[in-house]
Amino acid sequence: MPKAATLMQQARRSLTIACKDIRIYYSKGPVIIFGVLFPVFLFLSYTIGRHLNADSMIPGLLGMTLFFTATSISPIVVPWEAQARTLERLMSCPVTIETIIMGDVAASFAFGIGLSLVPIALGLFMGISISSPLILALAIILAAFCFASLGSVFSVPPTNIPATVNMIASVVKFPVVFISGVFIPLSELPNWGQAIAYVSPLTYFVDIARHSIQGGGHIPVSADLLILLGFTALFTLAAITLHRRTMPRRI
């Protein structure tokens, strides 16, 4: 079969895996708790009683929602499937490890995009206006893919216990939220805080959200997008390369 046809075939099968993941995993406890409830409560605990206006609140809420939801399914699917003994069946199907991983990433990507509409709708209801909706849409797509790939990297260690993977993910996810300008805009952070913020991919997404909703960010939008693209490529490559090594060891 020509290479392009094989690629198309594998892409279709990846989509099949993504649909299966969404159907099975979106309602699982860890996904609901770590992907939906936790960021909402975290945000509420920060904002209640602080009389913040919607323009400054929604970019942070959007960034945190997208980050938590897009990293909620992809870390748990592989260990869950290994534990439930469905992974071996999947690996023996005519799909590559890349196809399996990209399917898991696509499920997280779709879940992240779907739930990111909630803070946007909330913001619109509260009267915010989006000055550059296309750029915001592009950023959401890019960031959802970036975070979903990062989520897949979390599940690389060959443990088949989803709770262990969630613990590993939480060790990274919570500090990332605090250093990425979600609660305090980058421009209000001290220099050392900004230096730390630049190593987080979430920083660049929140900055684009502030550009689009508040009308101004800290970094040029084109730089935000390029850096986000770089993080996406890095995480995707890492997820595929590392899972190729560890996935057979889960069986």
């Binding site: 299966k20 199907c93 005519p94 590559t96």
Partner: protein, 315 residues
């Protein structure tokens, strides 16, 4: 074993090696399975059976040697496309109905929707699952799950079917349904690679069997030939009306081994006819009456035990 021409072999394994750290799980094994053959792969726990199946089905990579399925390198997309597996420890997706599991597999194998539906209906019918197809798999019994996994493996109409202990721990009805289906599939030309612990199952179903022990193939032949090749394993089963010391039976001419078998003794010999005469003489001389006396040909299990023990003593 001499390799056959490529176009005759469905599975071709040559010098396959797999290590797990210091453990050599598969030690340079070579064998061929002919197209349309029902091939049994027997061995004790930890012998390397499942590892071999995992390499052949592309779940694991070998550390050395080569393996081909229908002429395609094992683990390649082409090899996976023409084969299917019922893994030993696998499960269906328990949060999906049986029907959706089948459709999922069909999509992963690129089976067209109309064809997938038709095949699903006939497979569910053949394995008595049609009434439960819309129920979540988590509500299925173990036997029903295993039958569904077999349906999932067959949805793509594979040329080669790998089954790793498919009837292990199943109820009689499920095991019989699976065995009947395997016979039908084999009759229709499918190549079947079956690992099993059940000697009767192997003897009943397989054209040839390979016995693997400690990662090495000990013997490959037809079950009947393997049985007969172990002529020393003929036995005479005898019981007396009074207790008999095993030592006195072991001293009878031609007895290789004596094993207590419930209230009976099983005496292994190469010459069962002569031993029957000796036992009758022993009965007269010792004043004990024979309650029952049977001559037994070696079972595949005897052959298996004999060959694996022989390999262990050689080592």
């Amino acid at each position: 074993m001499a390799m056959q021409a490529d176009d005759v072999l469905a599975i071709e394994v040559d010098g396959l090696i797999k290590r797990f750290g210091q453990l050599l799980a598969v030690d340079r094994i070579s064998f061929g399975v002919r197209k349309g053959e029902l091939f049994g792969f027997l061995g004790p726990n930890g012998a390397g059976k499942t590892t071999t199946v995992r390499i052949l089905t592309g779940v694991m990579e070998a550390d050395g040697g080569s393996a081909f399925v229908m002429g395609h390198r094992a683990g390649s997309l082409k090899a996976k496309q023409v084969a299917s597996v019922v893994p030993e420890m696998a499960n269906a997706y328990t949060d999906l109905p049986g029907w959706n599991n089948l459709m999922l597999m069909a999509e992963l194998y690129g089976v067209q929707t109309k064809r997938a539906r038709e095949r699903s209906v006939s497979l569910l019918q053949a394995l008595a699952l049609q009434d439960r197809k819309d129920n979540l798999v988590k509500t299925y019994s173990k036997g029903m799950k295993q039958r569904l996994i077999l349906c999932m493996a067959l949805i793509s109409d594979p040329d080669v079917l790998f089954l790793d202990e498919p009837t292990s721990g199943l109820d009689v009805q499920s095991a019989r349904l699976i065995k009947d289906l395997l016979r039908d599939l084999n009759k229709n030309g499918k190549t079947i690679f079956l690992t099993t612990h059940d000697m009767d199952e192997a003897s009943e179903l397989c054209d040839r069997v390979a016995i693997i022990n400690e990662g090495r193939i000990v013997a490959i032949d037809a079950p009947e030939k393997l049985r007969m090749a172990t002529s020393r394993m003929h036995s005479v089963e005898v019981s007396f009306d009074d207790a008999v010391p095993a030592d006195s039976l072991a001293q009878l001419p031609g007895v290789n081994t004596v094993k207590k078998w419930g209230d009976k003794y099983r005496l292994y010999t190469a010459h069962p006819g002569d031993l029957v005469v000796s036992l009758v003489n022993y009965s007269c001389s010792s004043g004990r009456k024979i309650v029952s006396l049977n001559t037994l040909a070696p079972s595949l299990e005897d052959a298996f035990v004999h060959l694996t023990e022989e390999q262990a003593s050689d080592a």
